[in-house]
Amino acid sequence: MTVAVDTEVNLGGITLRNPVLTASGTFGYGSEFAPFFALDRIGGIVAKSLTLEPRSGNLPPRIAETPAGMLNAIGLENVGVDAFLAEKLPLLPEGLPVLASVFETDIDRYAEVCKRLSGAPKLAGLEINASCPHVKSGGIEFGQRVELLARLVRETRRASSLPLFIKLSPNVTDIREMARACEAEGADGISLINTLQALDVDLATRRPALRNGLGGLSGPAIRPVALRMVWQASQAVKIPVCGIGGIMTGEDAVKFLVCGATAVQVGTANYLNPMAAVEVADGIERYAAAHGFARVSELVGTLRPYASSR
């Protein structure tokens, strides 16, 4: 039995026409996809992470393929916050929710980027990428130490009144603890997961597959880990969770909603299929219709654990 479906969701104060955003670093600054589909067919865009100054990234090779996944170590390459505001943001259509993503190497610089972004007319919100190595802590990621993460959220919260989302690192013992710290410091939502830290070897040369050595694993391979973390985090906090990790189809996205995500982000799938985000949005709607849900938002958190679950 098919019903008309209301796809709108509210993500921490931002109204999205459907729950599909694009993940930071996988959708450029958005306009690259304009040849493939009308951007307002998706819920919104999270742009490539920005630093205070423009930065160039790592030497190649920067990417490698793995079973049902890919590795990347792009480095901090981006146009910088000012060029983003001046040159990239204006290219995006009116009315499309755009979140700017921020990463930096110390907390003051994170806060400064947030401050500059807060004046922008078109921005719907900020996403703080906490997977960046904290230089002063010898390479540990901000998102890997709960005190560091709490301070990062506090200072970026203070720097901006835009809706604030914290994108967590999955390379932690307990994601719930990290989610709770974000909630306690006033974040409007959390996004997860970022890539899993990983490594591959080129057997012809016995060098790492990436020049950087370590890289981040993304794609369908990591989806079951992402679903676990989204489920754990959404049980631990009341603020909304945005689910990310290996989403290729509408069904994959529905799994995240069922596990408690209010919205999702499509990442690696955009590379293999520039229409992926639209197809995911359509697929969610189809699933909702086929299963008698009048509103997509009613799918959120509907996971029914078995009674005798241990």
């Binding site: 690259e32 996809f33 190649p60 590379y271 293999l272």
Partner: protein, 276 residues
């Protein structure tokens, strides 16, 4: 003298019409591509070898960049020819596709070759799979001046597309490492000879092939003060400028994106020492 204008890219499911062996590990794929908007010489497409078949599969995950070897416009689209070589998993799975199967295509992508000035002699240097990037350039350059095509391979059996270049009627010279066809040795030696000829001067050189070959071609051209354009074959995830995976370091600092700023780049703009 800038590259031909590029039509906007499309994403489409193409139908395999043929997928034939051509010499040892070379294959020729013919695809019926609905809505194909045409392409400029040197542009490429992303082909998904992995998802083909009755159900989506995500191993291998990424599409492979392949030069548009040749296109034949037809009602509602075009027939695309791709020449490729079995090298890894991606290409071997592509070779599995039989007539009737579906291959996802995203393209045309990238910035192709600037054409020679009117009357300017063009030297096209192709090695290995790089040859596939040069056919449409050879055809277009012929309309503007004399064209010399220098092709290299390990042996005669490895050589791609030879007969097509012969049919074009260009001045074709071949080098093979084992001497099984043409001059024994490397294709860059043919370039050196061609540029050392008494009538040489003012040529434009185009090179596509393994990185050491392109680097060597660039050196030879630079010594003769010829402009040299190279078409790079970096690893790619997206092909349209959003993953930043295909970056190549530039002499002036920073990176070019092979898929968006290239694949054709001025040889002098590439910092070769760190280019792979």
């Amino acid at each position: 003298m800038s590259a031909s204008p590029s039509p906007p890219a499309i994403r489409v499911d193409a139908e395999v019409r043929a997928n034939q062996e051509e010499g040892a590990e070379n294959r020729r794929l013919r695809l019926g591509v609905p809505g194909w908007p045409g392409s400029a010489p040197g542009q490429f497409a992303m082909l998904s070898p992995g998802s083909r078949g009755a159900a989506e599969r995500y191993d291998p995950l990424l599409p492979r960049p392949m030069a548009v070897y040749r296109t034949v416009p037809e009602a509602g689209g075009a027939e695309l020819e791709i020449l490729y070589k079995l090298s890894g998993r991606g290409t071997r799975l592509l070779a599995d596709a039989r007539p009737g199967a579906t291959v996802r295509v995203v393209g045309p992508l990238g910035v192709g070759f600037p054409l020679p000035q009117l009357g300017q002699r063009a030297l096209l240097v192709g090695g290995g799979t790089g040859i596939a990037s040069l056919y449409e350039l050879a055809a277009a350059a012929q309309a503007r001046g004399p064209v010399v095509v220098l092709l290299g391979a390990r042996s005669a059996a490895d050589l791609m597309g030879r007969a097509d270049f012969v049919a074009l009627g260009v001045d074709l010279r071949v080098a093979t490492e084992d001497g099984s066809e043409g001059t024994p040795g490397r294709v860059t030696e043919l370039l050196e000879t061609a540029l050392a000829a008494p009538d040489a001067g003012g040529e434009i050189v185009y090179a596509c092939g393994p990185t050491p070959m392109m680097r060597r071609a660039a050196e030879i051209a630079a010594r003769r003060e010829c402009r040299c354009l190279v078409s790079l074959e970096n690893r790619m995830a997206c092909g349209f400028g959003v993953c930043l995976g295909c970056a190549v370091p530039r002499t002036e600092g920073g990176f070019a994106l092979v898929c968006r700023d290239g694949p054709v780049l001025d040889a002098g703009s590439v910092r070769w020492e760190e280019a792979s």
